[in-house]
Amino acid sequence: MRDRVSRAAAGSIVVLMVAMAILGCRGNQYARIIQPGDKQMMGSHQAGQETFAPLVDEAVAKLLARHPHQQIPVQYAGTGAEPLPPPKSSICFVGIENCTAEEIGDFKAQLYELIDSKIAECDSFTSVNRRWVDAGLKELRVKPEELFIPGRMQTFIDVMQKQGQPFQYLLFAKLTSGTTRENKDYQRDYLLTLELVDIRTGAQDKQSATLSKGYHHSWTSRARSTLGSK
């Protein structure tokens, strides 16, 4: 009887140790390619791609829609019959200012590239390469927001022309947020504003996109909120 108990105890220990060895080992890290259309991850504590991507899409589309490809009289080059395309206006995108309550970390550089690429894709505008913009700001030791100080903008235009990078528009982007708290949950409204300044006239066009996101302290709170909104 006692031997049976001992064997059972020994067997249990062996099973337990094997189970611990199998189940309790450290796991490896895995990754996968998230294809377009796959479920994207959502930032649980702060904004991520789910916030920034639609903001950029909407704000840039709105801005470019107001500056369509200009129809100019058809020109002919020499004796040929091919029409010359109208020249694109050049935009100098000087940067994004983050005025939200969150540190956006590595997203800032990506937001710049997203906006810059969308401008480059459109028919109306072309953008000045960022390296030239950085070199110009560095040479003058001028901050992007200081370009509105009288004289600074002209100096910057001169420097860019000297680098062979003339432009017609300055573009500024600004990311802001507003937070509304409800007990442990909160809603944050993100606003991306694009300001396009015509350096010849000083005229300004401003377009923005907004997106609101709710942050919940538990899944039940999120479920309640989702049901309440239906």
């Binding site: 001992s6 140790m17 080992c25 983050n98 913009v133 950085d134 700001l137 030791r141 901050k143």
Partner: protein, 446 residues
């Protein structure tokens, strides 16, 4: 199986486990490395590190951290970065729970667990990655500084227990991380808003860092540098950082002694008397006299470095927050061992007070006595990480770094030449564990 044979096998098993337990602590094993490093014998220190890695692969990661510090002091930042990156990845893997290893540590001691680094070490490994990278090409420094900030938040968030308590909530933060980010953003000449935000974080996390106020003001109202000028950042690793030593947990040892005596007196079997004390590691500060580093460029005194991260305070603060958990684990280990001895006697039908029972108790005492506290730690860390920012005209310059001890500047300061680029940053790093520098001054632009 007869009772005598069972007794024999149980005693043999206990003896095997005793043999597997740790004997000497890491702290004793690496004393030679530290002594060589502080004597400025970097080649000797490096040789001992490599021998240590070959001898005991279990300590390889923590020894690689020591090697990285030797490389940094020796103006080999690329090698330091490579070592630190490998350790960072290993620590990330090892910080996951391993039940089998955890169970084994209850039969031996905490030295049997793979070392995943203390929380402050996991953060500092990223901060020093950023510094190492700045000293050779700087292409990944910003990513490392973001990782440092992120890791701190991850560690704190993971500290929350089932009851919603979080002993890590008040962890002291490493201000060096946002500082480096601010420095790099400012040098972009357009992301001054990020720079301001980072310097404000520095001011909040390290209020004693006097330069933070100027950094915030410069990010808001000033500019990186005047035209034709660049900026020099002098980083100094000063003093000797914290180390761990073995300490006896007296209240727990006394409580276990009494509990063991009660159980032995009233139970069917006796348990090994709690002669061997419960040992836990303790983080200890090391004394040194160095206060700051005086910076002299081209014969002009330009100021003294200030502390951006106090490593010793950070380590002690973080250890105090989780000390109860470490003590609880040590006490639980002792209870498990006594329980196993008790169970072994029951299984082999021993009679209390017989020579066989006494022999098993003796083996149990020996088993408990072989426990050592886990004193593994990054021993060549400095006491403080200090920094000074100075703006200089573009071109070649010569710098002298003179340690300040009790308000007086030490003579015969080490020097080197370096270059300032227009509108850009140059980074220097020097290691001063005492009034004498170890190795050489490393510069991102020779």
């Amino acid at each position: 199986m007869s009772a005598a044979a069972r007794t024999f096998w149980w005693t043999l098993t206990l003896a095997a486990v005793v043999g597997a337990s740790g004997c000497s602590t890491y702290s004793h094993r690496v004393n030679g490395i530290r002594d060589s490093f502080y004597r400025n014998d970097l080649a000797g220190a490096e040789q001992q590190v490599r021998a240590g890695i070959e001898r005991d692969s279990g300590d390889a990661d923590v020894l690689r951290l020591e090697e990285a510090m030797i490389c940094l002091a020796n103006n080999r930042p690329a090698e330091a970065e490579k070592l630190l990156r490998a350790v960072r990845d290993n620590f990330d893997h090892l910080e996951q729970a391993d039940l089998a290893e955890s169970a084994m540590s209850y039969l031996t001691d905490d030295q049997r667990r793979a070392y995943a680094g203390e929380d402050y070490e996991r953060v500092l490994v990223r901060a020093l990655l950023a510094l190492s990278n700045l000293l050779h090409d700087g292409s990944d420094a910003e990513a490392y500084s973001l990782q440092t900030i992120d890791k701190q938040e991850q560690i704190i968030a993971a500290g929350k227990d089932d009851k919603g308590q979080n002993p890590k909530q008040n962890y002291q933060r490493v201000a060096l991380a946002p500082y480096l980010r601010g420095v790099l953003r400012e040098a972009s000449h357009h992301d001054y808003d990020d720079a301001r935000r980072s310097f404000e974080t520095v001011a909040a996390w390290q209020p004693e860092f006097a330069f933070a106020k100027h950094d915030v003001e410069r990010a808001v109202y000033g500019r990186h540098s005047e035209r034709g000028h660049g900026v020099l950042y002098v980083f100094a690793l000063t003093g000797r950082g914290p180390h761990k030593e073995e300490a006896i947990e007296v209240p727990s040892s006394a409580a276990l002694l009494i509990a063991g005596e009660i159980l032995s007196a009233t139970g069917k079997q006796s348990v090994p008397p709690n002669i061997a004390p419960v040992k836990v590691p303790r983080v200890v500060a090391r004394r040194h006299d160095i206060q700051e580093i005086g910076v002299r460029v081209d014969g002009h005194d330009l100021g003294r470095t200030a502390t951006i991260t106090n490593v010793t305070n950070l380590a002690i603060n973080q250890y105090d927050a989780i000390r109860e958990q470490i003590v609880a684990r040590a006490v639980a280990r002792r209870i498990v061992k006594k329980g196993i001895v008790y169970g072994a006697k029951e299984a082999s039908e021993m009679v209390k007070g017989t020579p066989a029972s006494f022999a098993v108790d003796l083996a149990g005492v020996a088993w408990e006595a072989t426990e050592s506290a886990d004193t593994r730690c990054w021993g060549l860390l400095p006491d403080q990480i200090q920094v000074l920012r100075v703006e200089l005209p573009a071109g070649r310059h010569e710098i002298e770094l003179a340690p300040v001890i009790r308000g007086a500047t030490v003579r015969n300061a080490p020097s080197r030449r370096f270059t300032i680029a227009d509108g850009d940053n140059t980074y220097l790093l020097a290691v001063f564990p005492s009034d004498r520098m170890v190795g050489q001054i490393a510069a991102s632009r020779p």
